[in-house]
């Protein structure tokens, strides 16, 4: 796949977006939203990561084969979290018989 050279203004726009998201994540952390605080913090971090991967790391302009390699890394991470939390998050679902705790 021929190399794609991105324009400078795209880098500046992405950087601007990242700084706005940084400010947003700090501000939102001080607003009381209960469990939504955690969800907001992680969601903003994911958006920032995706911006960095797509533009700073040029993945958006790379071949499909590279997309598979990139996706594979994060897919494995997904397996790690999904299988681990299928244990930890479900432990309270069934009451333990007395005498086990």
């Amino acid at each position: 796949m021929p190399e794609h050279i991105m324009e400078k203004k795209i880098y500046y726009a992405v950087f601007g977006a990242l700084m706005v998201l940084l400010a947003a994540t700090v501000l939102i952390a001080y607003i009381h939203l209960g469990k939504l605080n955690f969800i907001a913090a992680v969601s903003i971090a994911v958006v920032k990561a995706v911006l960095i991967i797509l533009y700073f790391m040029h993945v958006r302009y790379s071949s499909r084969l590279l997309w598979i390699f990139v996706g594979a890394g994060f897919f494995w991470l997904g397996i790690l979290f999904a299988l681990s939390f299928s244990d930890y998050l479900t432990r309270g679902w069934l009451p333990l018989p007395t005498g086990w705790e």
């Binding site: 950087f15 971090a45 960095i52 991967i53 590279l66 890394g73 494995w76 790690l80 930890y88």
Partner: protein, 214 residues
Amino acid sequence: MPDHSTALAHQFDDLEQQHESVSLGMWIFLATEIMFFGGMFLGYSVYRGIYPAAYGEASRHLDVVLGAVNTGVLLSSSLTMALAVQAAQLGGRRTLVLFLIATIALGSVFLGIKGLEYYHKYEEQLIPGSNFHFDGPNAGHAQLFFSFYFVMTGMHALHMIVGIGVMVVLILLTLKGRFSAGYHFPVEISGLYWHFVDIVWVFLFPLLYLVDRS
């Protein structure tokens, strides 16, 4: 100036194919890095689920202002790194060296602020071990939080030190005239590494500094 025939490794048909292989290889390495940091993020998350109150209490001992400023510094260093890669793609050696120096400078500022934070934690006796001191009933679990804090930020800082070393080598190679618009792959994959380290911090900052601030 190296022409394409010297830059092209003999096992590849052309530079385009070499470029694709180099990127794929770097992403395989980054996948192992995702797994490496992923294990620590998992451990952090499991214990955060079990001891949410202690995590919140301990997290409030971290300095949000220094953490946020450092995040800005690191994101800026990613911008200068991206611009360095672009300069390399265009064959501008002078700009390339300047942006690499800027990236090293910003990375060093990050490490300096991080060191200052570590020193504050040392003074506040928040480094896990026999001198650890934390008031309240959650002291043990707060120590667990700080263990994750120091291991994760420490491994992140170590990756940055390696990245700075890589950039010093890149500057030396650029000055030797080893890169051109046609062959700049080492600069590009070093950029991938630097951006990856930035992404790790993008998650570390909210997860460590902003646990329960509201």
